[in-house]
């Protein structure tokens, strides 16, 4: 192995059905700034199947100096044990200094599994990453205790320094067609395939399944909507804004929305650019799931709703009047735009 390939910053790309997920590019923008500060190179690591050369080159255009790729039909779906063995072997061979992954269902499973195998430290759900002056250690900042505190953590004596980062918490770098880099194709060592776990397939339930983790805008409804039919107001506004549909625990428990939409302590944590809470009072359990949103909007007729206090924009009014008005205005805008 060439010496310059050691102490790199690595980011873990993700694919589904042969398509790279957006988080792969988001991580590269995080990794790029760390690698530049450290004066090292940035490598995107992909384990999967069916990702085209063109897409691999896109990783280079969007920040990577190298791409290490292990592809095989056996790696079509993420299986923790198999991916874990491959990643562990890559780490032991190439000795990166930093390894970042997205805080997705894959990243949050693979990273802790792999960190123990090394063993090394891992920090979950980081919102900020920086390099410590002098030591070059990775400073990893994450919200804890329901977003009430921010803890800054480092892994001084173990390598790689591993962290997961929430999807959508950074923007991908613009593609730069002049960037050049190496794509290193590493053949799958079949002995690493662990056959104990088998993926059988997928089942899709709702039509409005745009991922809460990936959406720029989340529109969420709560008890203030009063009944199941009214939840359609949330779906229709979300559809208009290309937003994901969220729900408070109350709304899910009443059957107005299914569990995958639940935001909060016992549901998902979201960090969209805009979170819109409609008829949501703002129980602390719900707030824990939205605190890292860039902008928070609350629409609620109750002036004392806790969510209003946290919101950047609090609209004290009846959602059944305000939302139709928003939609009417959006229609108007669209008509103007399209003549």
């Amino acid at each position: 192995m060439r010496k310059e390939m050691q102490n790199e910053v690595w980011t873990l790309a993700e694919q589904f059905d042969g398509k790279l997920k957006a988080v792969s590019y988001e991580l590269l923008s995080r990794g790029r700034s760390l690698a530049d500060k450290l004066g090292t190179s940035l490598t995107s690591v992909l384990i999967g199947d069916g990702v085209s050369d063109q897409d691999l080159e896109a990783l280079i255009r969007q920040g990577a100096d190298r791409v290490y790729v292990v592809q095989s039909p056996e790696l079509k779906y993420f299986v923790c044990e198999t991916y874990g063995r491959i990643l562990e072997n890559l780490i032991k061979e190439y000795r990166p200094s930093v390894l970042l992954a997205a805080a997705t269902s894959m990243g949050r499973t693979l990273m802790p599994y792999t960190a123990v195998k090394i063993p090394t430290g891992l920090t979950a759900d980081c919102t900020e990453l920086d390099i410590e002056e002098g030591t070059g250690n990775l400073l990893q900042t994450r919200p804890a205790i329901g977003g009430n505190i921010m803890a800054t953590i480092k892994t001084p004596d173990h390598r790689p320094q591993m962290a997961t980062v929430r999807p959508k918490s950074s923007r991908p770098l613009p593609a730069d067609a002049s960037r050049r880099g190496d794509i290193l194709r590493i053949p799958l060592d079949k002995a690493l395939v662990d056959a104990r776990t088998q993926v059988r397939g997928y089942r899709h339930e709702d039509s409005d399944t745009l991922g809460l983790d990936e959406a720029d805008i989340v529109v969420a409804g709560g008890r203030g909507l009063k009944k199941a039919e009214n939840f359609n107001l949330i779906r229709s506004l979300a559809g208009r804004l290309d937003a994901a549909v969220g729900a408070s625990r109350d709304a899910v428990d009443r059957g107005w929305a299914s569990y995958p939409h639940q935001i909060g302590l016992s549901g998902k944590t979201v960090s969209p650019k805009i979170y819109v809470g409609i008829g949501i009072s703002g129980a602390i359990q719900h707030l824990a799931g939205i605190k890292t949103s860039e902008t928070i909007v609350s629409i609620n007729s109750d002036p004392d709703a806790t969510l209003h206090k946290l919101a950047d924009l609090a609209i004290v009014g009846d959602a059944f009047q305000v939302i139709p008005e928003i939609q009417r205005r959006l229609d108007e805008k669209r008509r103007v735009k399209h003549g």
Binding site: F16, Y77, C80, E81, S105, L110, P112, Y113, A115, V116, K117, P119, T120, G121, L122, T123, A124, D125, I145, G146, N148, I149, M150, A151, T152, K154, T155, R196, T197, R200, Y202, R203, T209, D216, R240, L241, D242, Y259, S266, T269, K273, I274, A283, I284, Q285, A288, I296, H308, K309, L310, L313, I315, V316, G317, Q321, V322, E325, R328, R329, K333
Partner: protein
């Protein structure tokens, strides 16, 4: 079917208060509860036992008072419980914690399925479950929303992932982390409560379960906390009253402006 459920005692979430001076959580006088997400793991375990027989053993790591959380699990119907309590494991990060719990699991006996909550509501990392699986070298299946059946030594499940529900199976022994959807937790029964009061819960020390000092406690934790900050809660928000036609229109305009400014208007 022998099932082990690692649980955590956490501060009751609605009561968490921060010390504005030190930026740390005020632990004094705070009510503690069983991590709410562990209740789903307990319920899923009890249901598996009802279908397949066997035992459910609940374990935890923490101060001696964590026995209370274990008793609650016994009151729900768990058969046995054990606590790891030792100052030397204090300050463990997720790597060290998962090591200690893996050793506990080996100590309490033969296991088929280990069921964990998705994450603890205080630390919020979701790392300890997969970490335990890694130390034990058993498959880790996370975010399980439904345990369908167990046949021929395999567990058939669905897990909630970004693409929808993934149908997956794995072989026993394995570790599973579950989400809320898996089952609605039962309440403790009177009979269970009486049993939990009478049950003697063994408390192990680090030596009892042969923990290697180099992997436990603050010293054995690869991650170190550098500092704790309390983020400012005030976001400098604007409040608009939308009571009549004019103010409703103004509110709608402001909302659309906000989205437009972020470049998110389609």
């Amino acid at each position: 079917m022998n099932i082990v459920v690692p649980i955590k005692q956490v501060p009751e979430s609605s009561n968490v208060k921060m010390d504005p001076e030190t930026g740390t959580v005020i632990r004094k006088g705070i009510e503690t509860v069983v991590n709410p997400l562990d209740l789903y793991a307990l319920e899923a375990s009890l249901r598996l036992r009802e279908q397949h027989g066997g035992t459910v053993t609940v374990i935890s790591m923490g101060p001696p008072q964590a026995t209370r959380a274990l008793k609650e699990a016994v009151a729900m119907g768990c058969d046995a419980a054990a606590l790891l309590s030792d100052r030397r494991v204090g300050g463990s990060d997720t790597c060290a914690t998962s090591y200690a719990l893996a050793q506990m699991i080996k100590t309490v006996g033969k296991y088929d399925v280990i069921i964990c909550g998705e994450r603890a509501t205080d630390g919020d990392t979701a790392q300890v479950g997969p970490g335990i699986a890694s130390w034990l070298d058993v498959p880790a299946v996370t975010y399980v929303s439904k345990i369908e059946e167990i046949e021929d030594g395999r567990v058939l499940m669905e897990r909630l992932v970004e693409e929808g529900y993934q149908q997956i199976s794995t072989s026993i022994p394995c570790l599973v982390t579950v989400v809320k959807e898996v089952a609605t937790p039962r309440l403790p029964t009177l009979k269970g409560k009486i049993r939990s009061m009478e049950l003697n819960i063994p408390v192990y020390s680090a030596d009892d379960i042969a923990l290697d000092p180099k992997y436990i406690g603050l010293k054995g934790s690869p991650t170190k906390v550098v500092r704790i900050d309390t983020p400012k809660v005030t976001r400098g928000g604007r409040t608009i009253a939308a009571q009549d036609d004019v103010s409703i229109e103004a509110a709608a305009d402001e909302f659309i402006d906000l989205i437009e400014k972020k470049g998110l208007l389609q």
